[in-house]
């Protein structure tokens, strides 16, 4: 029996498994991992059953300390994970010592990462699942997102630990990017839409809204025309249902959706692409592609074959000592604009610009600004608070220094990459925490 100590909860870190099955008829949402494929992969890498519970970490990852030597795996989004300060391998089983500290420097690709630990996160089963449904304070760790001071129990390993170094072949590791082609099966209520409405849905590009969360991915873009209206007599929902509300905009229902809904559903996102959508960041571009049910099932079989690639030892598994992904570290240094731990993926300006600029990692609204020009700030001190994904997230300083200019005020809408705070460039640069 061991545990994980939470030093910082990050933006939204919850315990999730494959979801709560069998209670939807009582109105209990399914919950579970938003990216079920990444969760399964993480579990297989460390030798857990697919259904074991993991931590789902959103955008700005947590800070964690592992209580005992364990085998871990990180899958899903690249949140800039560091194991004791060194870039951590993703999609690979890694052996770590007791008191290892896991931190995240900020998002580089995707939205949600999964941490599996050999033995699984061992919170109590509630209605057959360990998944957290925060809205009803159900399941998970005390029914809520993790925060500093929590001690999360880890179960006994189900067998001898997998050999560290076990990995998903590199060519099979997903790269998410910011444009997502999402395959759908039409229906069940596509007959509630005009032909023009269906053409709009399939031809236009939508943008993921900052109002998206674990309940649904809200999209903005051209309006989809209903035949007679958006309302239907409520019927069931499923993971990936695309409902179109009265304003003509689609919402893709996700893990924490209500079990029933009263809006017409034009289509349903394929299981495989629900995982993809779970990795889309607010501001990302989404297009929908219609496929047949047979093709969707073939895709799902393909995804399971992809998972099975983990089970087979491959040529890339030769180096069991490869705990750190040095290749990834090199990429980090080359980019030189990596985000920060516990912040919204703040990016540092490249050296070419000669300035130290803190930028927004994703679209949102500035709620408050905590510093002013001339202020001396410490590393990790909160600079400002941004609301995105319906949550307030502190944006922390990448380093110690003096604030030069503050370029936003409360209420400002910011896009990914918007300049927020500029460090005083006349001050000597503190290279101690440089990305290299």
């Amino acid at each position: 029996m061991t545990w994980i100590d939470v030093l910082d909860g990050g933006m939204l870190t919850t315990v999730q498994d494959l979801g709560r099955v069998g209670s939807q008829k009582y109105g209990v949402p399914e919950s579970g991992a938003m990216d079920g494929l990444a969760l399964r992969a993480a579990n297989r890498l460390v030798g857990n059953a697919d259904s074991a519970a993991c931590l789902e970490m959103t955008l700005a990852g947590p800070e964690l300390r592992l209580g005992a030597p364990v085998v871990i795996a990180l899958t899903g989004a690249d949140l800039g994970a560091l194991v004791n300060g060194r870039p951590a391998a993703r999609w690979q089983a890694v052996s770590v010592e007791a008191d290892t500290v896991l931190t995240f420097r900020g998002v580089r690709d995707g939205m949600r990462a999964y941490l599996a630990v050999n033995g699984g996160i061992d919170v109590p089963l509630v209605l057959g699942s360990r998944s957290t449904f925060t809205r009803s304070a159900l399941g998970g760790f005390e029914g809520r997102a993790l925060c500093a001071g929590d001690r999360i129990p880890v179960g006994a390993a189900p067998g001898p630990p997998r050999r560290p170094g076990r990995l998903l072949p590199r060519h099979a590791v997903p790269v998410y990017g910011h444009a997502h082609s999402v395959r759908v099966v039409m229906g069940p209520q596509d007959d509630a839409f005009t032909d023009e409405g269906i053409r709009t849905f399939l031809a236009e590009t939508y943008t993921l809204s900052t109002q998206s969360d674990r309940i649904g991915c809200r999209l903005s873009g051209p309006r989809i025309a209903h035949r007679t209206g958006a309302d239907i007599v409520s019927d069931g929902t499923t993971l990936g249902s695309v409902q179109v509300t009265g304003d003509g905009l689609p919402i893709v229902l996700m893990a924490d959706r209500g079990t029933t809904g009263g809006y017409a559903k034009i289509a349903t996102v394929t299981s495989v692409d629900v995982s993809r959508l779970a990795q889309a960041m607010p501001g990302d571009r989404i297009t929908f592609v219609r496929i047949g049910l047979d093709e969707a099932h073939a895709l799902l079989r393909g995804a399971h074959a992809w998972l099975d690639a983990i089970r087979r030892p491959g040529a890339e598994e030769e180096d069991p000592a490869a705990i750190y992904d040095e290749d990834s570290g090199a990429t980090l240094a080359a980019e030189g604009c990596v985000g920060l731990a516990s912040a919204l993926g703040v990016r540092r300006a490249t050296r070419a610009s000669g300035r130290d600029m803190v930028r927004a990692g994703m679209p949102g609204v500035v709620v408050s600004v905590a510093v002013g020009p001339g202020d001396e700030v410490a590393e990790r001190q909160t600079l400002l608070v941004i609301e995105a994904m319906k949550m307030h997230s502190p944006l922390r300083s990448p380093r110690a220094g003096r604030v030069g200019r503050v370029l936003v005020t409360p209420g400002a809408l910011v896009e990914a990459g918007t300049d927020l705070i500029e460090f005083d460039s006349t001050q000597a640069r503190d290279d101690e925490h440089d990305d290299r």
């Binding site: 109105g27 209990v28 099966v185 007599v233 209500g258 996102v269 049910l293």
Partner: protein, 246 residues
Amino acid sequence: MITPPRVLPAGDRALVVEYGATIDERVNARVRGLAAMLNAAAPPGIIETVPTYRSLMVHYDPLRLAVSDLESILRAADAGLAAEAVPERRTIEMPVVYGGEFGPDLADVAAHHGLSEDDVVAIHAATDYLIFMMGFMPGFPYLGGLSPRIATPRLSTPRSVVPAGSVGIAGQQTGIYPTDSPGGWRLIGRTPVRLFDTARTPPVLFEAGDYLRFIPVSARESAEIRRNVASGAFAPVIRVERTHPR
């Protein structure tokens, strides 16, 4: 008029068996009948079923059960429905303290219709309400059968917290909040019964297809029931009757 169901895909892991597009007790009875048959037969590959007003959502594992086979199972089950024994009718009695601090909107509902508070209580408590489905939040029953004489629009400004057990009216609907929640329903009373408890199996006291009957009780009786609920000694009164074929 019951038409043969439409079987529609809801993505690659669910089918919808749709019996109609209206709120109708006979349509709903078919939905629940199909759910009961499938749950009893428990064909491998069906993960769970979710009954709603007018359709049954059937979640399945396409890696274990081909969709064409599932559709055959559903068609056969539907064909067997007519011959299926009519299920017994369960009515769960739900004690409610009406008015006062437990039902802060009772006076407004009465005034809206030119009735006395006692009239509203008598009308509300005189009906067996059919639970068409559960949804909206864990343990929330969608009830049918509210008398139009006490149907009342929602509050213009929802409350930020409605206490668990609150009984309310919203338009043509009446219902109970199973857990503390924001809400805009007009609150006319409150039950001391705990509707949703994950420590119980099942976590709910009633399911879609059951009926609810509200029984007016005094604040003192309610307090005693609340103590019994807390100690685990409470069991709701459930009336069971055989019903006639539909």
